[in-house]
């Protein structure tokens, strides 16, 4: 008997086949990892198992019983629960209110339920639940005050309260510190031993090896591998995922030239958020010529604010920023670009591209002087610029005259990289440069950044992907709670050391913070 079995499960979107005859079997009481690149169809598959999407054809069996889910409600009835990558929590409500959302306990009056919610009973119930599964949470805390790791625990508890026997987790480790990942892995194994079946979607192969009992590899909507974890290794999985040999570590022949010439200096930068709370505390660092300076940290520790302050989207309350000797504190983005800063923004669709405009227009966005005369665009020059980028950066487009919204994440990101690098900045501010991008494009963007550095320029790399920061950077700063809590040498450091810093533990050796 299997917990979940799918037979020739297929889902198409407007003729595009997202899942092609998937045959998947998940045994009861096992941890199954489903790996694949971005866009391989993992999430589509899970959404079908959870009733969010209906299959185009094929059949799902839960405990050998054929099912046809119309909504997540049906899936929950069959004791399937899902923890989404983006948590489905309500920030202004407390932990207990979130866990019991939809199944509130009502106050009783003479044995009959009243319309009023019984807060005390709810808190007690949730406390008991937390106790049962050995979580550490205060049920009365509001979710908006919780760290990402704890929010995830709330999500898991929400499912456990609903008595799920099959738990699906979508990219659960993408926002956690290495230590939190270890905790999560331990928790999931405990749950498996307690009789739950667990499916984890991920693209992090190290965690697949540490966590799972069996693993299924999906590529372009098809199952390309299905095996016991003990019979495979990271390299073989990566090869299956991409379809060719991949270099898991970046070729970075470091030429750490720190201390030569600071190309970009940030001195005692402070900033406040809307509520007047200080979110950046005296941030200081130099990025030297021929250096990639990485900034690591768990998301939400001030990196976003730092990026906004440095890229001119937010004014700072104190400190200064210097670029090539010129002061550029609180400059607007166009001034920053003129002074030689290239910006690869955090969210490519919110700040980097205009999805509904043409590829050509996006290629010249922010750098319009070169392609216009008397303030009027010269279409010929704009198109020439686009064609040059498409060719040089190997950007695959179906329709060169089309809009950016038709491109995959990787190709869209390459347009930004092309635009920013081709305008010859001295410093590149690269924020999450490879988030949600396929492996081929990741390799390409990484090599472009290294090439840019080797040409004598400076790169400030801000990424929540720890392996990216460690493999590309010449020096790594760790941010915690709006401060730079420590500096590490990526060549010699360990994941444990960085993880401790990311969790806010001060280095015992008293290493000087930059």
């Amino acid at each position: 008997m299997s917990a979940i079995r799918t037979v020739n499960l297929t889902r198409t979107f407007d003729g595009f086949v997202a899942n092609d005859r998937i045959n998947l079997t998940v045994e009861p009481r096992e941890i199954k990892c489903i790996v694949g690149e971005n866009g391989a169809g993992k999430t589509t598959l899970m959404n079908m198992l959870y009733g969010v999407l209906k299959p185009t054809s094929g059949q799902i069996y839960i405990h050998d019983e054929p099912v046809a889910f119309r909504s997540p409600l049906d899936a929950m009835e069959k004791h399937i629960g899902m923890v989404h990558q983006h948590f489905k929590l309500v920030p202004s409500l407390t932990v207990y209110e979130n866990i019991l959302l939809g199944v509130e306990l009502n106050r009783k009056w003479r044995g009959r339920p009243t319309p009023l919610i019984d807060r005390d009973a709810e808190i007690q119930t949730v406390e008991a639940l937390i106790e049962t599964y050995h979580f550490q949470l205060d049920p009365r805390e509001k979710v908006q005050n919780l760290s990402v790791g704890l929010c995830q625990q709330v999500e898991i508890l929400k499912m456990l309260y609903r008595n799920v026997s099959i738990l699906i987790l979508d990219e659960p480790t993408s926002v956690l510190t290495p230590q939190e990942v270890d905790v999560l892995i331990r928790k999931l194994k405990d749950l498996r031993d307690a009789g739950k079946t667990i499916i984890v979607i991920t693209h992090k192969l190290r965690e697949v090896m540490a966590l799972s009992d069996s693993v299924t590899v999906i590529k372009q909507g098809r199952v390309v591998g299905d095996m016991r974890t003990s019979q495979t290794n990271e390299r073989a999985l990566a090869q299956m995922m991409v379809g060719r040999d991949v270099v898991l570590t970046v070729q970075n022949d470091g030429c750490c030239a720190c201390g030569r010439h600071p190309a970009y200096s940030v001195h005692n930068l402070t900033a406040e958020n809307e509520a007047g709370k200080q979110v950046l505390h005296n941030i200081s660092f130099d990025v030297c010529q021929e250096e990639i300076l990485g900034i690591a940290g768990v998301e939400g520790n001030g990196q976003s604010e730092l990026v906004k302050a440095l890229s001119g989207l937010m004014t700072v309350t104190g400190g200064s920023v210097t670029l090539g000797g010129q002061d550029c504190t609180n400059d607007w983005p166009d001034e920053l670009r003129r002074k030689g800063l290239g910006i690869i923004p955090e969210d490519r669709y919110a700040q980097g591209l205009c999805m509904e405009m043409s590829i050509a227009d996006n290629c010249v966005a922010g750098h319009c002087e070169a392609v216009s005369r008397f303030g009027v665009f010269q279409r010929r020059k704009v198109k020439a610029c686009r064609d040059r980028y498409l060719q040089k950066y190997d950007i695959r487009v179906a329709e060169a005259e089309g809009t950016v919204s038709q491109l995959s994440g990787g190709n869209a990101q390459k347009i930004i990289v092309a635009r920013e690098l081709e305008n010859r900045p001295q410093v590149i501010l690269a924020c999450q440069p490879t988030r949600g991008v396929d492996i081929g494009s990741i390799e390409f963007i990484h090599s472009q950044l290294l090439q840019f550095r080797n040409a004598g320029n400076a790169v400030l790399l801000i990424s929540s992907e720890l392996s990216e920061v460690l493999s590309l950077s010449d020096r790594v700063l760790v941010m915690y709670n709006g401060c730079i809590i420590g500096t590490v040498n990526p060549r010699t450091t360990t994941a444990e050391e960085v993880g401790l810093l990311m969790a806010g533990a001060k280095p015992s050796s008293g290493e000087e913070s930059a």
Binding site: S71, P72, L73, M76, M82, H84, H86, K88, L89, V90, P91, S92, L93, E97, N98, L101, G102, E104, N106, P115, L116, I117, A271, E272, N273, E274, A275, G276, K308, G312, L313, M314, T315, V316, T317, W332
Partner: protein, 304 residues
């Protein structure tokens, strides 16, 4: 002393319709489908109650007609805005323009500028509270209002309970804050949006009847005079909390009472005094948003 007494009485009197709109409107605000058509809902209730009461000679049927008209508008607004995912601001605007147009059309056909109920003595609608009416100053202020007024003030704590202590209130807030969370647990989010708008429609019906039939037994077109928008301003300022928004409703009610009473002494400048409530509203809105945005250091329209 007479003046003070009359300002106090009028404060309660003028707060009532605004307060009713606010207490109903906060639910739609919290559910993320802000109903700017409160003005139109209210006017249709004012009009229909007077029209039907005038034609049938029954106050009860007047009430029924007011509620029926608001229910129709509720269905139109919710179907377009929730089920069909239309822009609620545009739909609200359309209703606000449609209602006075229809009312004006009917008045035109009837060949009259306003509707009156000569047989209805407004004084009969008022409740004189025993004991309380004998308290000096306060008695004058609290006694002698229609039942609806007392209900409106009683509703402030009741709406607080409904919003924070019952499933309906929790779900309405969740739907507005993170609809995905609600949907992932199988809550029918559209249903809660409909219900949120419905609460507003029922309260607006009360407000409309209060405005025309209960107070003066008189309807003139556009007699709501922006009270629905003042209510929306109060909802915004109070961020949708029942007590906070009600407080702003009272501020605007007092402003109108001042305008009406001081206008009596202003002679030719009386109409100038009429703008007081609107000036107060503009100032309060400006101040509240200055305070809200004071620490905002993001440039442009980042993050709304």
């Amino acid at each position: 002393m007479r003046l003070l007494g009359s300002i106090l009485y009028d404060s309660v009197y003028h707060t009532t319709p605004i307060l009713l709109c606010v207490l109903g409107g906060i639910f739609a605000y919290k559910a993320g489908v802000l109903n700017i058509a409160l003005e139109g809902f209210m006017l249709s209730a004012s009009f229909m109650s007077m029209l039907v009461a005038g034609l049938t000679g029954s106050v009860a049927l007047g009430y029924a007609a007011a509620f029926a008209s608001c229910l129709v508008l509720w269905l139109v607004f919710s179907y377009m805005g929730v089920t069909r995912r239309g822009n609620v601001i545009i739909i609200g605007l359309a209703i606000n323009m449609l209602v006075p147009a229809i009312a004006g059309f009917v008045l035109q056909i009837m060949g009259t500028a306003n509707l009156t109920l000569p047989w209805l003595n407004v004084g009969d609608m008022k409740v004189n509270l025993p004991l309380i009416r004998d308290i000096p100053v306060l008695g004058n202020m609290l006694s002698g209002h229609p039942v609806t007024t007392y209900l409106a003030f009683l509703m402030i704590p009741l709406m607080g309970v409904l919003m924070y202590r019952t499933r309906l209130g929790v779900y309405i807030r969740v739907v507005g804050e993170n609809e995905d969370a609600a949907r992932s647990l199988g809550l029918r989010t559209d249903r809660y949006k409909y219900l949120a708008v419905l609460i507003g429609a029922l309260f607006a019906a009360f407000a409309g009847v209060n405005l025309s039939m209960e107070r003066m037994a008189l309807f003139t077109n556009n007699m709501t005079a922006g009270r629905g928008f003042i209510a929306i301003a109060a909802i915004y300022c109070g961020r949708g909390s029942p007590a906070g928004s009600a407080m702003y409703a009272i501020v605007f009610g007092v402003a109108r009472a001042l305008a009406v009473n001081l206008g009596l002494f202003a002679g030719p400048a009386a109409s100038l005094i009429d703008i007081v409530p609107y000036v107060v509203m503009t100032l309060v809105l400006t101040m509240v948003s200055v305070v809200k945005r004071r620490n905002n250091r993001l440039r442009g329209f980042v993050g709304g």
